[in-house]
Chain length 663, copies 2
Amino acid sequence: MSRNLEASNITGKSRLLQLNQVRIEDPYWSEYIRLVREVIVPYQWEALNDRIPGVEPSSAVRNFKIAAGEENGEYWGMVFQDSDVAKWLEAVGYLLATQPDPELERIADEVIDIIAKAQQQDGYLNTYFTLKEPDRRWTNLAECHELYCAGHMIEAAVSYYNATGKRKILDVVCKFADYMDTVFGSEPGQLHGYDGHQEIELALVKLYRATGNEKYLELSRYFLDQRGEQPHFYLEEFEKRNGTVHFPHLDMAHDHAYSQAHQPIRQQEKAEGHAVRVVYMTTAMADVAALTGDTELLEACRKLWRNIVSKRMYITGGIGSMAQGEAFSLDYDLPGDTAYAETCASIGLIFFARRMLEIEPNGEYADVLERALYNTVVSGMSRDGKKFFYVNPLEVHPDACGKNHIYDHVKPERQGWFGCACCPPNIARLLASLGEYIYTVRDETVYTHLYIGGQANLELNGQKVRLEQQSAYAWDGITRMTVKTDAPLRFALAFRIPSWSGGQATLQLNGQTFTYDDADLKAGYLIIDRVWSNDDAVDLVFDMQVRRMKGHPHVRDTFGKVALQHGPFVYCMEEADNGRNLHQLYLARGNKFSVRFIPDLLGGVKVIETTVHRVASDEWQENLYLEDSHAGLKTESFIGRFIPYFAWANRNVGEMAVWVRDC
Amino acid sequence: MSRNLEASNITGKSRLLQLNQVRIEDPYWSEYIRLVREVIVPYQWEALNDRIPGVEPSSAVRNFKIAAGEENGEYWGMVFQDSDVAKWLEAVGYLLATQPDPELERIADEVIDIIAKAQQQDGYLNTYFTLKEPDRRWTNLAECHELYCAGHMIEAAVSYYNATGKRKILDVVCKFADYMDTVFGSEPGQLHGYDGHQEIELALVKLYRATGNEKYLELSRYFLDQRGEQPHFYLEEFEKRNGTVHFPHLDMAHDHAYSQAHQPIRQQEKAEGHAVRVVYMTTAMADVAALTGDTELLEACRKLWRNIVSKRMYITGGIGSMAQGEAFSLDYDLPGDTAYAETCASIGLIFFARRMLEIEPNGEYADVLERALYNTVVSGMSRDGKKFFYVNPLEVHPDACGKNHIYDHVKPERQGWFGCACCPPNIARLLASLGEYIYTVRDETVYTHLYIGGQANLELNGQKVRLEQQSAYAWDGITRMTVKTDAPLRFALAFRIPSWSGGQATLQLNGQTFTYDDADLKAGYLIIDRVWSNDDAVDLVFDMQVRRMKGHPHVRDTFGKVALQHGPFVYCMEEADNGRNLHQLYLARGNKFSVRFIPDLLGGVKVIETTVHRVASDEWQENLYLEDSHAGLKTESFIGRFIPYFAWANRNVGEMAVWVRDC
């Protein structure tokens, strides 16, 4: 089992900036982060404590109190209810890392005290099994999310410890992980199992990074490598417990592809099954590959990445083409109207992309990360931070929702909170930790992956450097990076050239045009390696022309259609702007587009306006089918309007379409 | 309750020809009827007796034997398994009506003996309840198909009695119906219920016609009018049996629209719920309306007809847009790839259309009847009569079947037989009784609805007349009707002008061009009222140009596409002729079509060939989305081939599409 755990050549010397090194001040993103801090996290705390009138109670905090002996009552909720508290605590950690908040910290400390009390003597921590099935620990790993919940608690603990330096919750999860390490493994008497929902694997890597304890990294790799091995653990445990099941409709004991347990992970070449699980798994695979120098594992990551982004991803960065199993379906199968494209899956794709960026700074990873972030993730919440999408379709017909059951999962309006409340807290923790996604440092090169305004404080060659980004990237494609340094210092700044920009940027260095050649471009990054002095400033301007995007010719749903993209944003048409029956609209080839910012529309967005043709007819009356020559189809033109996809469904319920016919 | 049961003005004096009055000899249809006689019905008998190796046993005959005391054992099968025996017997009756077959009759008599022995003392006949739940008769009408099975046995009995004159099975069902008449009704102590699956209603009308006993017609009307009344019978019986359910996933006790019990039937304006049930119900509604002069009921039939054919029917005559509930969805929602379009539902639509034709000879009813018959019904079976489609999609992507679960109901190949074997016997009984669908006689006018070759013997004004049809209608759009009469006789022949013909026919009377004017055309029929002499012959030629059909502009799935129709047949493209990725193909406007008969293709079909453009690109490589200007989309042209829809899936598994893009 023991491979070299030292960072190897595949990691280079990439390092992440800690969250407290990065401060975000951005005209687009600051508002979202404010919403997380002021709306979502407080709301979520109320929800976790069953204090939201008219919303199904969560009982998540109460379950911990009961397990801690502080309240009487019975466990209530899903088998993975604990993870909601953990995700909240993780987000709190990120918020505290970037801005002190004594009251929030006090609340967090209180809940940590309860969690600690709920932990069992041997280190075990899970209120469902502690309260409901104390004799059945680890008897149904395929379905019961014990290690998944453990993973989220570990992520919370690391986040909170990094933010506050307080060890209490970190000690709790270390004790739990130490206990797990005795339960799982290849020794006689140990379980050779792994969780049906990947999460523990990436969490143990974080715990390793926080503590330096290599056994956590080893355990992560053990879980990864056990996955899909024969004889199959899920069948063995299924027989051992006499065939009882927790989620009868999933049949996880036998449908191994659902949880990516159909093959050893190193042999998997296509993204199969539940989309969130896939990307949580590949995130951990990339982590372990980076930390152990396991090139075979890295190759497996690359294969799955390639399959997802070149054959199984929506233009919005959504993944998971079908509702049943919340899962991938098959190559080039990307229906827009029955899409699942769960918000959490795109968040997981962002985790995966960032891990790959640490291994190899390749602009494609950041392009996909940006695509998912600026489109599906922000689409996942309303402009006021109070309502959320779980499912992110690319085409919606509200009349058919609730009538044709292939759309049963599609909601034409964001919902307040969910019985299975995974997406809102996932959005919260991602946005609260957004500072971790902007830069990586590799050797003495600072890579800028995202153009988000703010400051980053780092050390290069032992010297403190501050980078200040003033960004109007989201809407205008421009950003300025200013270097703050006490003394001139040689290092490289690597700027991502977003794929949407056509591969070109206009640069100024200290106000002078800066020309670069192909040798300065490497894997999607423009690298400026020089001696930087204080106040040196780089201005970047990306070409913000409206892009007419096409889908691969094998994709049925996008064929003969076009989607508009402007900067990082994918656009869509809504009924509110363009009337009903969006399927009747065409964009002529060679259309001119006019783009303008409307401050009081949808919280302030740029719209794209252009001539649109509607093919319609008055002659059909009661006919359902007519000969073409009698159909009387006529083309009317009007100025149609596209809005950014993320902003859809913030007005009345209506039709929406990302892909529009072209002719 | 008692309305006038005499035929009223809404029926006119329409009468059906008995099956033994009509003989089919047709280059297209005779082969199908031979398959029913020589392949399907014998195969079905083997299947009902569990003698097909490798096929799940039916146990349907065995259940009757056990209930008759002739075998020991336990009931096996669906709650409606009895109906499989009944549908077989019904088809046998139709076959015997048109051609003697002593061996088949002997087998039928034997099974009738068994059925009679399985009948209970009080007349009750249902092997499921007799064997499995003798104390639960009539306790779950919503789900358990007791009256549905009774209805099929009545249809079988009437068919067999009409064919053979033997009363035994007719007496059995009369005794059963007499018993039902004591159980159901508005008197104190009677159940005011009705079956979850309509069928008894239309069957009781047949029993009324066979026996003249008006109480059967009254009982049919009682069942129809109770449907959807409040307080709701399904809720009452649900509570009475303490909430037990038979099909938990359907929730029929509460989902009343599924079984059209959400409103009284006279108030229903849209076809909702399970498609087969809708059309079985409307068939009975039309029957009862015709026989009782109930114009309100007729109006309800017209509304539902209008809704189906102008908003909820596929161009193939398929109905039911979704798999869940095998049901209608909403107006203009006609997805081709996730269509359900159950073969049985189109058969039920044919039943309904024929009843409406009896009430009012309007070509639209016959147009729809023909559309369903020549496309979905014959598509339902393979060219060798051995395999069947339950679901009839208009677009198939075999790779996605079994991968994207929205296609779980779609099979790219016909299947041998089904656990719920409703479609094959339904096809058999329809084709075996096809002679009933060709003509109706109203006053002294003989309406020809379908151009199917053969003879019809009838009496007009007390005089025997024989009509001989020589038809090459299916492929060539021509037919000749010759009158055989001992003496000249005045009557009218009314010929349907199919809507696909553009409303025009070229006629010759005794070899001379016959011109007609608008006054001769009535509701889609050309009426020739004259004194007919022996050997007078009418030749009809319909315009067989290839028709480019469009769907209503509100139908998303057909928008921007065209379907080809040639005569009564809707055409489709298959991968076998046109390669993969049919979605990349375009038909240019103004295309010329070449049509030719290929005798050794698919049992002999006419194909349509035309220039087809494929939009493709070699430049995509690993890209999933590209800017239009980089997409490198190019148009290649080739001679594409369309085959009749009914003949698809008789070669290798491959893609199929009815609707093709036009540009």
